[in-house]
């Protein structure tokens, strides 16, 4: 059995604050919320910010599995991508409003996550990573062949729709605040899960699974539930992305998307509360600047992987937390 993935140093939990955050975490959470609320008024482009939020939710959902259960999934693109397809299909062909469309995305994430998780948790460590990758590749081939995904074209011109029948999301600013609402709800949900008694059992499994079993916990049930939650939230993140951009394509379900979410979480800090958000912001910004330079995006992403693994394993937020001796 492999040891724990995480090395967060001698970080302290810190004094408790509101919503189950420590005081330092609550301060950072408030700063993050204020920044995202104010950002559109500071001249930052809303669709770009909304993209960061979708990936921040995706990475937070992924972090639930790697950071708190110690399971490295290399196939999360399946849930994100299918969530994106189904939400796009629901909004475009069924004419569902955006809030129901992204719930459809979450439902397909759950519907895929349960059987895939059930298969994958039979093995751990690198086998788990290879199995999730292979299952996601199966979903990719399905998306390539199934008629409803539109093959190479994807689903295009997905309408943003009218939220709760009241707010028209056609304006960039409106759809941004919709994405912000979804992100904050998902982020707080992940935080709540991690700090619940259920989350404590997950961490116990990560640290020492045989001991958790000997204490009478059915660890497989806990792992499966964490996997399903993570897949559901990934589906919601993919659905939100489809609504914001009006497009769902093969890129969302390709293995390189699974790699990207691993990279975001690793760069931000595995098992930290804010790491996935920071990692998503850095990677999306970098992709934006390097978009015109062909394969350089891939090379730089590869280089970040190598540097993170060799020298920077706690990630940006993890290293800051280590230096300040607090958990962030």
């Amino acid at each position: 059995m492999a040891g724990p993935v995480l090395d967060l140093g001698a970080a302290q939990e810190g004094k408790p604050g509101p919503f189950g955050f420590s005081q330092a975490q609550f301060a950072l959470f408030s700063a993050m919320a204020v920044f995202f609320l104010a950002a559109p008024f500071l001249g930052l482009y809303e669709v770009f910010l909304a993209k960061i939020l979708c990936f921040a939710l995706f990475a937070s959902a992924f972090n639930l599995l790697i950071g708190y259960v110690g399971l490295l999934s290399f196939g999360h693109a399946a849930y994100f991508g299918m969530g994106s397809y189904v939400a796009g299909h629901a909004a475009k062909l069924w004419g569902l409003p955006p809030e129901l469309a992204i719930l459809c995305g979450g439902a397909v994430g759950l519907a895929l996550g349960l059987p895939f998780g059930w298969l994958a948790i039979r093995r751990s460590g690198i086998y788990f990573a290879m199995i999730t990758l292979a299952l996601a590749q199966m979903v990719f081939f399905f998306a390539l062949q199934a008629p409803f995904t539109g093959g190479e074209d994807g689903i295009q011109a997905i309408p943003r729709g009218v939220l709760f029948g009241v707010v028209d999301l056609t304006a960039d600013r409106n759809v941004y605040f919709f994405a912000l609402g979804v992100f904050l709800a998902g982020f707080l949900l992940v935080h709540r899960i991690v700090h619940s008694p259920f989350g404590q059992v997950l961490k116990a499994i990560r640290e020492n699974e045989p001991r958790a079993i000997s204490l009478g916990y059915r660890t497989d049930d806990y792992k499966l539930m964490a996997f399903a939650l993570s897949a559901t939230l990934s589906g919601i993140a993919g659905g939100t992305k489809a609504i914001v951009f009006g497009i769902a394509t093969l890129t969302d379900v390709h293995w390189s998307m699974s790699g990207e979410v691993v990279l975001m979480t690793l760069l931000g800090g595995l098992g930290t509360v804010f790491g996935p958000v920071a990692g998503a912001a850095i990677i999306v910004t970098m992709q934006n600047y390097l978009a015109g330079f062909g394969a350089w995006v891939t090379i730089v992403q590869g280089a970040i992987f190598v540097v993170c693994v060799l020298a920077f394993r706690a990630g940006v937020i993890g290293e800051i937390g280590k230096a300040l001796k607090i958990r962030l």
Binding site: A129, M130, L133, T298, Q301, F305, V309
Partner: protein, 294 residues
């Protein structure tokens, strides 16, 4: 026209041969992965990129230096094997004390760097590599025409796989290797230089991938993505076979290639996913893999 199971015989045999060829590559690649995993305890995600490098080195030798296929069979694995040794010394050797997952992440990053670099240099479209004149044409087997090159690939792959198996299971070098897999500290205490053995094992596993790449060059077009598409299927093959046994990974590779070929005849819609479906079934019934130890 002869029919077998309601399918024209030439179609069936053609897909069988194609399946055997894919199986030959699955076997060679999963064999390399298994050898590397045995000693280094990492899953070499760079394996697909190194397969692609083998094909590209063969193409470069021909295009820039006029060196043909036969020498490429020897030179390309050596060149790529040396880059593997450099990678092992510079990067992978720093990770042995850490969780195995970091090895996966590191080699994934290296694969991205290598594939991105080749895409920058040569674009995404494929480069043609001609079948050497000695291996063109086809044999008439009576029931079908077998292109000589395809027969050659299957024979070479079988020979290389068996040679590797004999080397590991029947020679004293292989015995040391297996001993180091079981207990590296003890083997080191007997005066065997284990770090050097680890380094050379990685180089040899990588060279095997590069050799597969040279063999593949005339069949598939030489392009930067050729390895990435292969390696994920090979991972599924490895999960099905289990990494405990060398012979197991060879047999699993060939059998799955043939199964994939037959699926292409009888139910083409499933041909790209059948390996993953088999993986799911194996996980349900024998989670450790067909030849694996729990």
């Amino acid at each position: 026209m002869d029919m077998i199971f309601g399918v024209p015989a030439p179609l069936l045999f053609g897909q069988l041969v194609l399946g055997l060829i894919n199986g030959a590559f699955y076997a060679m690649l999963s064999l390399g992965l298994a050898v590397i995993f045995g000693l280094l305890n990492i899953i070499n995600f760079t394996h697909g990129a190194q397969f692609m490098m083998g094909a590209f080195v063969a193409w470069m030798l021909l295009t820039y230096l006029g060196i043909g296929y036969w020498w490429a069979l020897l030179i390309a694995p050596i060149v790529v094997g040396i880059t593997g040794i450099v990678i092992e010394r510079l990067f992978i050797s720093r990770l042995y004390k850490l969780d195995h997952l970091y090895g996966l992440l590191l080699t994934f990053g290296l694969a991205l760097i290598i594939e991105g670099s080749f895409r920058n240099l040569y674009g995404s479209s494929g480069q043609p590599y001609r079948i050497p004149p000695e291996l063109t044409g086809a044999w008439d087997l009576g029931f079908m025409f077998l292109p000589v090159y395809r027969g050659w690939v299957v024979i070479v792959a079988l020979a290389v796989c068996l040679a590797t198996w004999l080397l590991i299971e029947k020679t004293s070098l292989g015995a040391k290797l297996r001993a180091a897999t079981e207990n590296p500290a003890l083997v080191q205490a007997f005066g065997i230089n284990v770090p050097r053995m680890v380094m050379l094992t990685y180089g040899a596993g990588v060279a095997l991938a590069a050799l597969a790449g040279v063999l593949a060059a005339p069949i598939y077009s030489v392009n930067p993505q050729m390895g990435a598409n292969f390696i994920i299927t090979v991972f599924a093959v490895v999960v099905i076979g289990g990494m405990g046994s060398i012979l197991g990974s060879i047999v699993t590779g060939f059998v799955l290639g043939v199964v994939e070929g037959l699926t292409r005849v009888f139910y083409p819609e499933l041909s790209s996913t059948v390996v993953f479906i088999i993986m799911a079934i194996v996980l349900l019934t024998r989670p450790a893999g067909l030849f694996g130890r729990a």
